[in-house]
Amino acid sequence: MVRVNLDRDRCYGLGQCVLAAPDVFDQDDEGIAWLLVEEPRPEQHDEVRQAAMACPRQAIGVAD
C-alpha cells in the first residue's frame, strides 16, 4: 500500500503535482496543494511518484 504525505507548509502552490496526478492533488484558492486521497489506487502510483519528483519544493512524500 502506498501513502502520500503532503507538507502544506513547504508548498509554494506551483501546481506541478496537479498536472502530474490530477485525481490525487488539487489546489486551494491560494494555490496551496491539498490531497484528494491519501491512499491512491495502484494505477495512480506512477503518477504520484512523478508528482513527488516534479514538486520543486520537495513537499510530497510517498511511502510504500
Binding site: Y12, G15, D26, P56, Q58
Partner: protein, 415 residues
C-alpha cells in the same frame, strides 16, 4: 565530489571567484544553428558544469549548466533574487532598473511567499483549464487575421504578439476594448530610454490600474483584479500600491515570454518537417510537444541570476557568500545525464522536467496557463493551415539574440 578538475585538492576547498581568471565572457552569441545554444557554453559545460565567467560589468559569476546544478541553485533559499545586491550578476553593465525593485521576481523568503500565494491562487491548473474556451476564441480570431492577410503574412505580428497579451488582459481584467490603450502604455514603459520617461510611463500605467481597482471596489468582477480587491485589499493584506504592482508585473512577465515561444516554436516545427508530420498525424502528442519545444529552444538565453547569501555547494563547486551565479536552463535542458540525444527535437519524448520555467520558489507561477496557450495556438494553427510552410523557404530566420528572451522577430508563413 568536485566537478572542477583544476580547482580542488580537497572537498572542503572553496576557490574564491575573484581569484580565478574566467576564460569566457557572458553572454555569448555565436551559434551553429538558430535552435542551439551558443557553442562556447556547450564546450565549457562539457568540461565544467559550474564555471567562472566574466559579466558585462567586469565582475565574475558562476555559470551553472548541469541539470542537477540548476535545480539545486534555484531551489536553495541561500541563493537570493535581490538584484540590488552588489554581488548580483549584472549582464548589461547598467544599474538595476528601478522598475523591477520590490517586484515578486526580486523578493526572497517570507516576503516573497506572502505575495506569491496571492498570485498562485489565480493561476492554478484548474483556473488555466477553465480558460481554454477563451484562449481558443482569442487564437481563432488571430488566425482569422493571419488568413485575411494572406500567404506571406507575418505570424509573429498577427498571432504570436497578439494571443498572449489578450489572454493576459482577460486574466487580469483589462477590457478588450482597452487592449490597444494598454499595449501602448506597456510599449512606452519598455521603450523608455531616460529615467524621466520611465517614471512618466510608469505613472500612466499605475493610474490606469488605479481606475480598474476603483471599479472593482464598487463592482464584483470575476478576474484577477476583482479577486485580489475582494480577498486581500479589503482585508488590508495588500496595499493598493502592491496590488497594482503585482497586476502589472504579471502582465509584463506573461507576454513576451509566451509570444516568443509561439514564434520560435512554430519556426522550429517548420524546420523539422518529420516532427511536424508526426504532430499532424497524432495530434494527441501536442501537450508533450509543447514541453519538448520548451526544452529544446534556448529561450531564456541569459539564464536566471542569483547571489549567494551564505556559502553554498552547487554541483561540487563551493559558491562563497557574496558571489553571483547564473543558472542557464538552455544548457541544463540538454544535459545528457537526463535527456537522451539532447540535441534532437523529439516530440515523443517526455520532457516535462525541463527547466525553462525555472525551478524552486520563483518557478513560473503561470506554467499551466502558458503550456495551455502554447498547446492551443500550435494545435489550431496546424488544423487551420494543413499546408503551412515558411514563405521564405530556407532563408535565414530573423533571430534576435540580444533580447532577454531569444526570439524570431518576424516569421513569414504561407499555405
Amino acid at each position: 565530489m568536485s566537478s572542477h578538475p583544476a580547482a580542488a585538492p580537497g572537498p572542503e576547498t572553496a576557490t574564491p571567484l575573484h581569484t580565478l581568471a574566467p576564460e569566457l565572457t557572458f553572454p555569448q552569441f555565436e551559434r551553429a544553428t538558430p535552435f542551439d545554444p551558443p557553442e562556447a557554453y556547450t564546450e565549457l559545460s562539457g568540461r565544467c558544469p559550474v564555471a567562472p565567467v566574466r559579466m558585462a560589468d567586469g565582475k565574475p559569476s558562476w555559470l551553472i549548466t548541469s541539470f542537477e546544478g540548476v535545480r539545486a541553485a534555484l531551489s536553495d533559499p541561500r541563493l537570493s533574487s535581490d538584484m540590488s545586491h552588489p554581488g548580483f550578476p549584472n549582464r548589461t553593465g547598467k544599474p538595476v532598473d528601478d522598475l523591477l525593485k520590490d517586484t515578486l521576481g526580486a523578493m526572497d523568503g517570507e516576503r516573497h511567499r506572502y505575495y506569491r500565494r496571492m498570485l498562485t491562487g489565480e493561476l492554478t491548473v484548474r483556473r488555466a483549464k477553465a480558460m481554454r474556451p477563451v484562449i481558443t476564441q482569442i487564437t481563432d480570431e488571430a488566425l482569422d487575421q493571419l488568413a485575411a492577410a494572406g500567404p506571406g503574412a507575418d505570424l509573429v505580428k498577427h498571432v504570436a504578439l497578439v494571443v498572449p497579451s489578450r489572454v493576459a488582459c482577460h486574466l487580469v481584467g483589462i477590457p478588450l476594448s482597452e487592449y490597444e490603450l494598454f499595449t501602448g502604455m506597456a510599449a512606452k514603459l519598455m521603450e523608455a530610454t531616460s529615467s524621466a520617461d520611465q517614471i512618466a510611463a510608469l505613472q500612466d500605467m499605475v493610474s490606469y490600474f488605479d481606475k480598474l481597482v476603483t471599479d472593482r471596489e464598487h463592482h464584483d468582477r470575476d478576474d484577477l483584479l476583482g479577486h485580489m480587491v475582494r480577498r486581500y485589499l479589503s482585508t488590508g493584506e495588500l496595499t493598493r500600491e502592491m496590488l497594482i504592482r503585482l497586476a502589472w508585473t504579471t502582465m509584463a512577465a506573461g507576454q513576451e515570454t509566451t509570444a516568443h515561444m509561439i514564434g520560435l516554436g512554430v519556426a522550429a516545427l517548420l524546420r523539422h518537417p518529420d516532427q511536424l508530420e508526426l504532430l499532424r498525424r497524432e495530434p494527441h502528442l501536442m501537450p508533450g510537444a509543447v514541453d519538448e519545444l520548451m526544452r529544446y529552444l534556448p529561450m531564456i538565453q541569459f539564464g536566471i541570476p542569483r547571489v549567494a547569501m551564505d556559502d553554498v555547494e552547487v554541483d561540487g563547486q563551493t559558491v562563497t557568500a557574496g558571489e553571483g551565479v547564473v543558472a542557464l536552463p538552455p544548457l541544463a535542458n540538454r544535459d545528457p545525464a537526463v535527456f537522451e540525444r539532447p540535441d534532437e527535437l523529439d516530440v515523443r519524448r517526455n520532457a516535462r522536467q525541463h527547466l525553462s520555467f525555472g525551478y524552486g520558489p520563483h518557478q513560473c507561477p503561470a506554467h499551466a496557463l502558458a503550456r495551455l496557450e502554447l498547446e492551443v495556438v500550435y494545435s489550431r494553427l496546424l488544423e487551420r493551415f494543413p499546408t503551412l510552410r515558411l514563405a521564405d523557404g530556407d532563408a535565414d530566420l530573423k533571430v534576435q539574440d540580444e533580447d532577454i528572451m531569444y526570439n524570431v522577430s518576424e516569421l513569414a508563413v504561407a499555405w
